[in-house]
Amino acid sequence: MYLTKDEILSLYESGELTIRPLLSQEQFGEMTLDLRLGTDFLVSFQGREPYIDATGDTEARPIGSFFQETKRLIGETIFLHPHQTVLCSTLEYLKLPNDIFISISTRSSYSRLGLLISSIVQPGYCGCLSLELTNQNNNAIKIRVGAAILQARFFRLSKETNYFNGTRKYACQVRPVASKANSDKELIILQRIGVK
């Protein structure tokens, strides 16, 4: 079920939905919540390794080493070069109820510039949302930290889930975190199959 503004506000005011900091009530749209660009970024760079190894090989260079941290304070600007993808996070730290998930996309003002994000956030998630922001334009785009570039749509499940059921790699994160794909346990099985 798709939640409307009143329902989202009700969750926020009751404390079931946490949004910290909420800089403006105007972030609540009729059926969305606007979210802001956070202060920390991971920018990929080409090192001497020719590729990022996401096969689970424990000898491979860590995925995080292909990214460089950078930071801007709120109100400052950052450039996204044409076709560049950066990992960013939301300014807001969210905690979702156990029966609500959200779908994240760029607000239309920014998607028209060629900035694209698409992601789903699980029920019960807590933390700043780590997102991959891609500039599909042929021009570089300069954006401001703290700008409401994202929007979240809220969906209710038929029953509650337990976010902490199983290992959660990205819980309570406050900045973008490089992929932890290589810690997926099933990769060990697949690796053995592949070697054989």
Partner: protein
């Protein structure tokens, strides 16, 4: 000391200066300071050291060292490197004791896990600034408080409580609190040094409560009296007496001397806040500076105890460490963001 060696030293500085020109700072005062260092370097570059006396060469080398250290700390205090949140908290504490806006906290990150310390060279040694002004007509409007911390702990908010103690040393030296006290009481050098350590511990505990003792007990567990430091147990005890309002000769001496030197009293400067939000995996909303400093005590008390809300979710010890640090950081960061936002909102 030869003119050639001083010229070599200056050339080494040039390399460092060139790299630093692209530094970006959040604080415009650092930019001003950096610009003065660039001007000073340009002036030094104009001088021909041939014919300098030995004393003049030594002095010139010391001024070049001054530039080197300045650049080192400024390099480590750019937007990307500096641990913003902890420095923000320290600056808030500093402003209570010195509101001249003259002092800027800068950090240098080192590979040594025990290297929490503070250096007076760029903050309290007026000689350099006097000489630079007298000889080169360059006025530095600010001073840098240099704080060293371990690189791997720069985002460890549990360990970094030690920095409040280091800030205490700065305040002591800035106002010569224990120096004046020791002159008045005719103390020995060791006794003066002990008073300095006690002062810094008490200073820290004004803001972070018992948290100052927790980490001290860890990094200096059961240390006896030394030439420069009193025993860990006596330090823990005096903080405990301060926090519980009990009397003690040393504590009373410091409580008497501090307002005479600074105009400010040693007193509780924190508001104890609930840990309910952290137990619920969310950052706390901080409503005042007193609550801001209290966040460290919340983190420590949760770290040392069991958190049932974490245990039912099978959170491991390492995850607990990461979560607590993240929540402390985000709580402080949100306070910083709201402070800026609210100061610019037109209504």
């Amino acid at each position: 000391m030869s003119p050639e060696l001083v010229t070599l030293h200056l050339s080494q500085l040039q390399k460092s200066i060139e790299k630093s020109k692209t530094n970006k700072y959040a604080d415009s005062r650092k930019r001003d300071y950096h610009d003065n260092i660039l001007k000073l370097f340009d002036e030094l570059n104009k001088i021909d050291f041939l014919g300098f006396s030995a004393d003049s060469l030594v002095l010139t080398k010391k001024i070049i060292d001054f530039c080197f250290v300045s650049v080192e700390f400024l390099d480590n205090s750019t937007l990307v490197n500096i641990p913003h949140e902890i420095v923000y908290c320290l600056e808030k504490a500093l402003n209570e004791w010195d509101d001249t806006n003259q002092y800027i906290i800068v950090t240098s990150l080192h590979n040594d896990l025990n290297c929490f310390s503070f250096n007076t060279l760029l903050s309290l040694n007026e000689t350099y600034y006097d000489i630079i002004k007298a000889v080169f007509s360059i006025s530095f409007n600010h001073r840098l408080i240099q704080i060293n911390l371990p690189k791997y702990l720069s985002q460890d908010y549990l360990a970094n409580v030690v920095l409040y103690h280091e800030l205490g040393h700065f305040v002591d030296l800035r106002y010569q609190i224990t120096e004046k006290l020791s002159t008045a009481l005719n103390l020995s050098e060791t006794e003066r040094s002990y008073y300095g350590e006690f002062f810094s511990d008490i200073f820290a505990s004004q803001y972070i409560g018992e948290a100052s003792n927790y980490y001290l007990d860890y990094i200096a567990y059961n240390d006896p009296d030394s030439l420069s430091h009193p025993s860990t147990n006596s330090r823990i005890e005096i903080v405990h007496k301060f926090l519980s309002g009990k009397s003690d000769k040393i504590l009373d001496d410091l409580k008497d001397a501090t307002p005479k030197s600074t105009g400010k009293e040693l007193r509780n400067r924190r508001n104890v806040i609930s840990d309910a939000d952290f137990r619920n995996f969310i950052p706390t909303i901080l409503n005042s500076e007193e609550e801001l400093h209290s966040i460290f005590e919340v983190g420590w008390s949760l770290w040392q105890g069991k958190i049932s809300e974490f245990e039912v979710k099978n959170i491991t010890k390492y995850e607990k460490y990461q979560i607590l640090n993240n929540l402390i950081e985000k709580s402080i960061s949100n306070y910083m963001i709201l402070e800026k936002w609210n100061s610019y909102v037109p209504y």
